[in-house]
Symmetry: C2
Subunit: 136 residues, 2 copies
Amino acid sequence: MTTENIEELLLRHGVKPTAQRVVICEYMIGTKSHPTADDVLQAVARKLPVALSRATVYNTLNCLVNAGIIREVVTEPDRTRYDANMSDHHHFVDVKTGKILDIPAEEIARLHPTIGDNYKVHSYQITFFGEIVKNK
Amino acid sequence: MTTENIEELLLRHGVKPTAQRVVICEYMIGTKSHPTADDVLQAVARKLPVALSRATVYNTLNCLVNAGIIREVVTEPDRTRYDANMSDHHHFVDVKTGKILDIPAEEIARLHPTIGDNYKVHSYQITFFGEIVKNK
DNA sequence: GTCTTGGTTTAGACTTATTCTAAATGCAGA
DNA sequence: TCTGCATTTAGAATAAGTCTAAACCAAGAC
């Protein structure tokens, strides 16, 4: 994706495309990994002519989340990861390497708690976020 | 559950039942909430004749997790919650109050992303933990 | 072109959850 | 009773993330 396209993407979501935001967004769109804020800082800092502040990385990531351009992934309790894949999908965490893979929603049916084709599932967790309609 | 039963439970799982562990485990078994380590400390500290150290609460909770007596619940990125309900279930987070409810696995089918009987689901996330068998 | 305004970025201080450390404690077995 | 080893403790250390106040900068007003 070109820089101009990134700028358009940001504008379309109501985010003013500053240099920092463009380069962070570009990185997020271009990676399939699920980086932490610190990963983003490491990867992006050198691409900017000026110093990039940690606070700006956090600001920008939160900004992109609020704009609906990326989403948070909560798999570990001590750090937030981010994912620019906004399609309907879930996550598979390799407990040995910590690697996180995207699992398309339509593939879920094949992933039975016992054994899938490509994955051996030790455990899984479904978390719903929403509102209680009728409280017992 | 009586204190003797808690001790037996701990022994059965290979955990030496010290006074601190018994009282923490008892609290976990007795609550349906999903307390943080700090919640546990607040609730349990007064029940012990001696001071209870924060480190002991963390040690004990990790110990109970490793023993398979309780499990971690990861719904927020900045704190770990614990759950003594070891049955096959998932979680519903009320985004307004932060309240966490247990959803039995067999009830999942009724919880469609659109609307359930009792819950309005805004979003949900499934996270699998396991090993990659065949890596593409 | 300059001035003003409001949003953005910055460095560093701060907060908060969790882990680490080293000393004190206390049970279990000899 | 003595000894050894796991457990507990208080407080220091670590690390993710937020806050703050000052500097910066782009866009519109004049």
